[in-house]
């Protein structure tokens, strides 16, 4: 069966520091991968998605970036964090196909102080 991992689970970082969040998927190959941010426990905002290695689509212009160095690895990064980057970051994967379900990881809680 497929599983999705995210780490770290929680992170407290000062403003201006760099960020690296990692997401890995097991038990599948060539998945679509997604990064979402959830603010205040409510709506989901799609940040990036990827349909293959090195292929990244950005949804929202901001100081975050994403990379996919391996088929089942998706990394969310920032060179300098802002207070507004605080939130709950969720990674998801799906199969290749329009009717495929997205499955979510456990999330990373980021607090920027």
């Amino acid at each position: 069966s497929q599983t999705i991992h995210q780490w770290p689970a929680t992170l407290v970082q000062p403003v201006g520091s760099p960020l690296s969040l990692e997401c890995t998927v097991e038990g599948t190959s060539n998945p679509n991968l997604y990064w979402y941010r959830q603010a205040a426990g409510r709506g989901l905002q799609l940040l990036f998605y990827s349909v293959g290695i090195g292929q990244i689509s950005s949804e929202v212009p901001q100081n975050l970036s994403a990379s996919r160095p391996q088929d089942r690895q998706f990394i969310l990064s920032s060179k300098k964090l802002l207070l507004s980057d605080s939130g709950f970051y969720l990674c998801a994967w799906s199969g290749q196909g329009n009717q495929e379900t997205q499955y979510f990881g456990p999330g990373t809680r980021l607090l920027v102080l």
């Binding site: 426990g41 989901l44 998605y49 329009n98 979510f104």
Partner: protein
Amino acid sequence: AQSVAQPEDQVNVAEGNPLTVKCTYSVSGNPYLFWYVQYPNRGLQFLLKYITGDNLVKGSYGFEAEFNKSQTSFHLKKPSALVSDSALYFCAVRDIYSNDYKLSFGAGTTVTVRA
């Protein structure tokens, strides 16, 4: 363009009573529809989806949803709610003609089931 509306921020029911969480959608073509549940500080868990076929879809934990094309709705239902069903519920849609795999999520509905 595709979008989802969840008209109720909160739904409160007594344990053992029926639970309904409302969702309406808008797509240019036909929809793929999904329901997810989120417990505090956890990721979203998939409950069920409508792709095609029978309008009544059964999913995990005793939940079901009915696709109504004329009303553009996909309401989530459970005949007898449990306290453990208290959580945040999200409806999501994708147009079947979409070529970018993106889902559009509703704002979420908080369900509280009282004992």
